[in-house]
């Protein structure tokens, strides 16, 4: 019996056959996430897991971590795999920890508005559950129809409602987490490690299994809005004024750039969002919005149309069908740099002959989450690989203008050193303390490893991508 056989039989003994799979089809579909991987990636990394486990309780996660430590096998936590930075893609095989089976809504503290859920609960289920109560979620992701609560805690935690109520981390009271050695800890703002240290650590420090979320009392009124503008600059100026004079729940700005002629045509743009408050305040804010939109020569669409757009807010990738593939990146940038970044994205799209959509979710008066999408076609592998460097080019400039990536995972890891060196240092320190064997989601966020466990220097990776971009022009 080989080590892996022994490990597998022990895993099955401890958890039960129904929670473990080594089926070849299963391995195939768990070897990727949201993003389409260029074929060459499989030469660099062993993206195929050895085994997939679907735990049903925190105790299962503990057992798996202990066993992984004993046999020195990597563990890759995975929610709904809706994050496109390779965070759930194995780099040297190992165990995929599919956490979607931990999907119970445990308890609602009706008096204090605190909701305790398991990590694999999908946001939509939480929203649906709360409809029958007098509470609602302050913030939720744009992928709420499939992403999990634990997944969002491990990644960015910025989405709808973050503008008014802050990021997800500010709306969590405590979490139960399993550390890489299998210990179970309860974490809050005052614990060591603290909530903010573990939040957004992209599954390299711990596995969240239970979370207690803060709710807000249901607002009396909700008023979606949408305004069209003939150019992006006007839309952006109007949006900034909306941020200054009103308190929207969310504000999203979108624009398109199409390679129809030799040069990019300054495209039109629109923003949409929602006010939620008491009836009177909502009405007053809407009046202010109306005058702002008029001032910037925009057009406020009828209420039913705005409501439709608001209901469509989870469908941000409709445009993908025109690709049929997309390349892109997500980063947080200062609001006053949005216009420059959008123009740069259009310029890049023009150079690479790719259509562009840019979405901007405002998270405060000063910062926004930007999501440029470049339409491309993965069926043309060489061109696709060449174009893939566009994601890096965008981020290079975003960091230069004071931005930072929304996530690192596998694809953005070289940027942490440049964008957030202090955070990197802290994560490295915590990683070496909590996970000395480097078993929990190895080769991500703070450094990458290729198939044989060789480190992949960030600079080498960056130089390679720059080379690909130059080569694109030649080809």
């Amino acid at each position: 019996m080989t080590t892996s056989d022994k490990f597998l039989s022990e895993l099955i003994n401890r958890l039960g056959q129904e929670y473990v799979s080594v089926d070849s089809l299963e391995k195939l579909v768990y070897a990727h996430d949201f993003a389409a991987l260029p074929k060459f990636v499989k030469l660099l990394f062993n993206t195929t897991p050895d085994v997939i486990v679907r735990p049903k309780a925190t105790e299962h996660v503990t057992e798996i971590m202990k066993l992984a430590n004993e046999y020195k096998i990597p563990v890759i936590p995975r929610g709904s795999a809706t994050w496109g930075f390779g965070g759930t893609v194995p780099v040297k095989g190992g165990i995929i920890l599919d956490l979607t089976g931990l999907n119970r809504i445990i308890h609602l503290d009706e008096k204090n508005g605190l909701l305790t859920v398991e990590c694999g609960v999908v946001w939509e289920d939480v929203i649906r559950f709360l409809r029958k109560t007098c509470w609602e979620l302050p913030t939720y992701p744009s992928s709420a129809l499939s992403s999990t609560v634990g997944g969002w805690a491990a990644t960015g935690g910025i989405g709808y409602g973050s503008l008014k109520y802050g990021p997800f981390v500010k709306n969590v009271v405590k979490v139960t987490a399993v550390l890489p050695d299998g210990r179970v800890i309860v974490v809050d703002d005052n614990s060591d490690p603290s909530l903010s240290q573990l939040f957004g650590s992209e599954g390299i420090l711990c596995v969240f299994t239970e979370l207690t979320l803060k709710m807000i009392p249901k607002n009396e009124a909700e008023m979606p809005f949408m305004a069209n503008f003939s150019n992006f600059a006007n839309a952006l100026m109007a949006a900034q004024e909306v941020l200054r004079l009103t308190r929207p729940h969310s504000l999203v700005l979108r624009t398109f750039g199409f390679v129809r002629t030799k040069d990019y045509v300054e495209s039109d743009a629109y923003f949409f969002g929602c006010f939620n408050d008491n009836k009177r305040d909502v009405y007053e804010q809407y009046l202010k919005l109306d005058s702002i939109v008029n001032r910037y020569r925009g057009y406020l669409v009828p209420e039913d149309e705005a409501r439709r757009e608001w209901e469509e807010r989870f469908y941000t990738l409709r445009i993908k069908k025109w690709g049929p593939s997309i390349l892109g990146n997500e980063f947080i940038i200062p609001v006053h740099k949005i216009l420059d970044m959008v123009r740069y994205c259009w310029q890049l799209g023009n150079q690479a002959h790719l259509d562009v959509e840019v979405e901007v979710i405002f998270i405060s008066k000063d910062e926004a989450l930007m999501f440029p999408l470049f339409l491309c076609d993965e069926r043309k592998p060489i061109r696709y690989l060449m174009s893939a460097a566009i994601a890096k080019k965008v981020l290079d400039v975003a960091i230069k203008v004071g931005g930072r990536p929304y996530g690192y995972g596998l694809w953005n890891f070289p940027f942490m050193e440049i964008a957030e060196p202090e955070k990197k240092g802290e994560l490295e320190r915590m990683k070496s303390t909590l996970d000395p064997q480097n078993l929990l989601n190895p080769g991500k966020t703070i450094g990458a490893e290729v198939t044989l466990g060789l480190p992949l220097p960030g600079k080498l990776y960056s130089t390679f991508m720059d080379g690909v971009w130059v080569l694109r022009k030649v080809i």
Binding site: D23, V29, R54
Partner: protein, 389 residues
């Protein structure tokens, strides 16, 4: 020689892998493994796609039965298509893949048996097809066999042969008589072919379609009415594709016909204080878009009509679609129990649906529950209210 059909490449590659379908899939809800989800299956297809945009035969053979089981463990409820981020016609893709698997002989044993049964006996029960009209004797219904009529009532295999739902045929025929409709049954009705289409046996389905269209057209009927959403789908949407031409008759589901009778005043239904909920059959509601008409009919009966959790286009499958009952009966049963639980939690007296398969499945589930609710078809409900049953 079978040529593997081309798949819509844009659709396969457009799949955003967002997982909106994963969360909704009733099969994934119980199995939980990614490969059983629509997203997982789309990714698998991408991996086994050849350069010519056809599925690679060698790769299919290599993956063999496990691959086939994934594609046949599906209720064809269409929720995946409904929530698709990039509006991919997933049902079309699942149908094409089943067709390929059937032609390559990689289908579950139960599917082979089912398609052989339909081919031989012209019904899904391996019964002598001449006994198709026995329900008339069993129920004592007053039916017509005419050479020509305005309307043909296409009964369907389940309603004809399954004792539990033969009363649906009795209800529909009594209502047609009640409104003095000029109608007839077909003298030699064959299976509509929908189960064969779901099996992937397209050529065999074509034979049945040809026969049924010929029979219906020979009566000169302008309308065909059926109480079975599977037959409705076959007659209305699959026959034109199978035969390459649109038949000369209009196809209606019984709920549509009843709704027309009620709104035109041709059928007056006395109001009652009965409390009801309605289960939208997937093939009728979400797939065929017939959501309003059954509600028009229900609201003519009572003011205490309660919508269940998930209704209309969001309705959840009862577990009996897509031939899942033949492939994985225990899974189908679990799905049925889940849906029944949602319907029963509305605390009404009667659960109504508009599909013999849904009624049969939910009624069967009700019998396994304590204080199981009464489950009936819409046509039965109306026939009872009018005093015909």
């Amino acid at each position: 020689m079978f040529i593997i059909p081309k798949l819509q490449l844009e659709d396969i590659f457009a799949c955003a892998q967002c997982g909106y379908c994963v969360k909704k899939c009733p099969v994934y809800y119980f199995l939980g493994w990614e490969s059983t989800s629509p997203r997982g299956k789309m990714f698998t297809l991408k991996e086994i796609l050849g350069n010519n945009s056809r599925l690679d035969e060698q790769k299919i053979h290599k993956l063999g039965k496990p691959l086939s089981m994934r594609f046949f463990s599906c209720t064809f409820c269409g929720l995946c298509k409904e929530v698709c981020h990039v509006e991919v016609d997933l049902l079309e893709i699942w149908s094409k893949v089943r067709e390929v698997l059937y032609e390559l002989g990689i289908v579950p044993e139960s599917i082979i048996k089912l398609s052989e049964t339909v081919k031989q006996s012209k019904n899904i029960y391996m019964m002598d097809n001449t006994s198709r009209m026995d329900w008339v004797t069993y129920t004592g219904a007053d039916v017509n066999f005419k050479d020509s009529a305005e309307v043909v009532y296409f009964v369907g295999c389940i309603t004809s042969f399954s004792g539990r739902v033969q009363s649906i045929a009795q209800a529909v025929s009594s209502l047609l008589n009640y409104v003095n409709e000029d109608w007839t049954l077909l003298k030699d009705e064959w299976c509509c072919g929908h189960p064969l289409v779901l099996s992937g046996a397209i050529r065999e389905a074509r034979v049945l379609a040809f026969h049924n269209v010929e029979m219906i057209e020979s009566t000169g009927a302008k309308k065909v009415v059926t109480g079975c959403p599977g037959c409705y789908l076959a007659l209305k949407h699959e026959y034109p594709r199978l035969l390459g031409k649109k038949p000369k008759f209009e196809v209606l589901h019984s709920s549509q016909l009843l709704s027309t009778y009620i709104t035109s005043g041709r059928l007056v239904v006395p109001k009652s204080d009965i409390t009801l909920t309605y289960h939208d059959p997937c093939e009728l509601g979400r797939i065929s878009g017939i959501i309003r008409e059954p509600r028009v009919v229900l609201q003519s009966v009572t003011d205490t009509f309660v919508e269940p959790e998930y209704f209309g286009r969001e309705s959840i499958c009862c577990g009996s679609g897509g031939l899942l009952k033949a492939v994985n009966p225990s899974l189908a049963e679990s799905i049925a129990q889940r849906r029944y639980g949602m319907l029963a939690s509305t605390n009404v007296e009667v659960i109504v649906s508009a599909c013999p398969t849904c009624v049969q499945t939910l009624a069967q589930t009700a019998t396994t529950m304590q204080n199981g609710k009464r489950v009936i078809d819409l046509s039965q409900l109306i026939a009872e209210q009018v005093g015909l049953m």
